[in-house]
């Protein structure tokens, strides 16, 4: 049930069906609350394991109530309390092992609950008009089963607008068809595409250490670097497709989390397209306040562009280290923050050297875009080594070749990604340019029915054939 399994989809569809028996906000909210509670029970098996999560939620609600009444004195305290509780429950490795609770307890989805609680606390503290959020609404928002495991991180006002209304958004046959299509596509991505890509990655990793000729092992390293971002995208975006589809069938639109990330021609652009709700959260609650605070203190016009660079580094360093509890994620954070701030510096440097107009001309150049896309992909793929591997694996992988050989693998990844992604974008443009009076043939109703049926059939066949569960949703671990 904890991944994009057939059982999860069936459960979600059943809840959507029951939820649509009435448009009443009370009915829809009761169904969602009961479904979310049932979902939690199915995941946790043992009620005792849910106790720490319940305490965390109650702490968040207590903080919210206090902030609603007197924010100046209590917002900082509430945020710190939630942050410390989160770090404690997640058992960050920099804390001594002895202080942790030594029984198995449930932490699935806690990161996303953490973001939602912080969002509620900060917005409640900032808001001029103090509107009270009841315990039921709070639980519904934080435990909503469609966003529980891996997001997307939805703002409370958006959730409340669609959930707590007696006039929910329309759900006609066309919308239902589109959502079912999206669910099938997501199911295919997670259970077929991601599974196959994961097999390629595992084989490549194994072949690095097998008695094979150097050229074959270098090719394995190239596959290892290139395949993981594609796997992660299929795995995560497939799951997001499913939950967005299910939530829309329950008349609650969720925010998009991906926008063709590998089409990004720079690291800055990439993070506007990858895990969008997470980067938006960090931009709203870390980047913007930090930049404002620094700009208030440093008034030099010459230095101001570099303040943005610093803020980008801090923000995306935090994005990186949020992903895990170990020191490997500190490196992941440094590389993520380093990549995005270097990209910003590069933009500033080029604008300075070529002038704004010259830089804009260069940024529209086909080869510049293609190489930028490849460089972004290769940078991301290599930072992900600190994402999927622990230190032991990292040590083993990097010791498989010399530094020069790894540099060659990275160059090859860059070049291959530039060519393949440029071809993909060209193909997409060509296919979308084939149009009828109703629009592109590729996105027509008939084409969608055909390929959705094909994907559904392929997913069914592969699930039967491979006789193994698809890899779990990677982001549920965070």
């Amino acid at each position: 049930m904890d991944s994009a399994s057939f059982q999860f989809v069936t459960f979600g569809l059943a809840v959507a069906l029951i939820s649509n028996l009435s448009c009443s906000r009370v009915w829809r909210s009761t169904v969602l609350l009961l479904a979310s509670a049932a979902f939690l029970c199915l995941l946790a098996h043992n009620p005792i394991a849910l106790l720490p999560l319940a305490v965390f939620l109650l702490l968040g609600y207590a903080g919210l109530v206090i902030v609603e009444r007197a924010w100046h004195t209590s917002l900082a305290c509430s945020v710190i309390a939630i942050l410390l509780s989160y770090v404690y429950l997640k058992k960050y490795v920099f804390l001594p092992e002895s202080i942790f609770m030594h029984f198995p307890y449930f932490t699935l989805g806690i990161s996303y609950i953490f973001f939602r609680i912080l969002h509620l606390l900060i917005e409640s503290g900032d808001s001029q008009e103090k509107s009270h959020i009841g315990l039921g609404a709070y639980l519904l928002y934080t435990l909503n089963f469609t966003t529980f495991i891996s997001g997307p991180i939805q703002r409370y006002d958006e959730f409340a607008r669609y959930q707590f209304t007696n006039l929910p958004i329309a759900l006609g046959p066309r919308v239902i068809g589109m959502q079912l299509e999206r669910i099938v596509r997501g199911f295919f991505k997670v259970n077929v595409l991601a599974m196959l890509l994961d097999l390629v990655r595992e084989d490549a990793l194994l072949q690095l250490f097998q008695p094979l000729p150097l050229s074959l092992r270098l090719f394995s390293a190239l596959r290892l670097a290139a395949v993981y971002p594609l796997f992660l995208y299929s795995n995560f975006s497939g799951y997001i497709d499913i939950v967005i589809g299910l939530a829309r069938l329950m008349r609650v639109p969720l925010p998009e989390n991906f926008d063709r990330p590998f089409a990004a021609s720079s690291v800055l652009d990439f993070w506007n397209r990858w895990h969008i709700t997470l980067s938006s959260w960090f931009k709203t609650y870390v980047y913007n306040p930090l930049l404002l605070a620094l700009m208030r203190r440093i008034s030099s016009l010459k230095l101001q562009p570099f303040l943005g660079v610093l803020c980008f580094f801090v923000t995306f360093f935090l994005v990186g280290i949020w992903h895990g509890r170990t020191s490997a994620f500190v490196i992941f954070g440094l590389l993520t923050g380093g990549g995005i701030s270097t990209n910003k510096l590069w933009q500033l440097g080029l604008s300075h050297a070529l002038g704004r107009k010259g830089y804009k001309v260069l940024a529209r150049n086909f080869f510049y875009i293609a190489l930028g896309r490849g460089l972004t992909f290769s940078w991301f793929s290599f930072t992900l080594f600190w994402f999927w591997a622990d230190w032991k694996q990292i040590d083993k992988v990097f010791n498989a070749f010399s530094g020069a050989q790894w540099f060659g693998v990275w160059l090859a990844t860059w070049l291959c990604a530039s060519i393949v992604l440029a071809f993909w974008e060209w193909l997409r443009t060509v296919l979308l340019s084939i149009k009828t009076v109703d629009g592109p043939v590729l996105t027509s109703r008939y084409a969608r029915v055909v390929y959705t049926s094909a994907l559904g059939l392929a997913a069914l066949v592969m699930t039967i054939l491979l006789n193994q569960p698809a890899p779990g949703i990677v982001y549920k671990a965070f």
Partner: protein
Amino acid sequence: MIGTSFTIGMRVPREKTFAALLPLELSRRTGLKVELYNEAMPFKLPDTIASHFNEVLKAKPDMVLWALNLADLQSQRDMGLRVSTSHFKFWERVLLRLRAFSATSLSASISDLFRHTRTATMLFQVLYRSQSGYVKSVLMDTDKAKYLRSEQGAECHNRLNEFNNSVARIATQARDADVPLVVVLLPNHVQSAMVSMGEWPAGFDPYNLDNELRAIISSQGGTYIDMLTDIRSIPNPDLGYFPVEGHPNARGHAIFSKLLAKELTNGAVSALANARKPKSVVGQER
């Protein structure tokens, strides 16, 4: 040499089977003239082989090599269902299918029906190219993976006891005829893949069966030789099998021949170990 389908070289041209390659390799290594008579019988259980062993001894061999594979330890019922249905009439086959269908869950039955279609076979050809994917898939199959578990269940123990009885019958006859009996387990596709990967999920151990067989053979006075450890040094040994039906292909037979010759001349069999080694082979081994 005795054995079953692996030993007879099913689906591989005769001159490319390890039965054809092994004597050449042994002769090259020892300088002796080695002749091999392949008395393997496909799809026969150890018990049947034991019943016909007197016919093998009539050829007055200097040594008997019994090349086993994991499928030889299947139960009589499994072998019966898998082999003899093709000789049944249509309605008998339908009846058998229906019986099997009623004995398992609906989803498992549908899955089983689909897995035997040509489309499935074609897709397996592609999917089983992935070493880790193949291993995962087989280990999910409780029947195929039962001998690869670290802790073998009661069914496996019963089968190993039956196997022990067959070995005892063969070993007694060999001892009486003063013919050394040498036994080897030819690794199957999944064992080779697991050993080559060097890691496997908790609860499984590709070496476990090897250890069990060694104990049985040694207790009956036979010589057991180990091929699994050497498989580790072979690049992609899993490519030595037909991906779907699992028998070794020509590449697999060549690997078996090399590894068997190495093990047979490394001291496990005194007659072959004491033979003069040509200088070229000695040089290669150094």
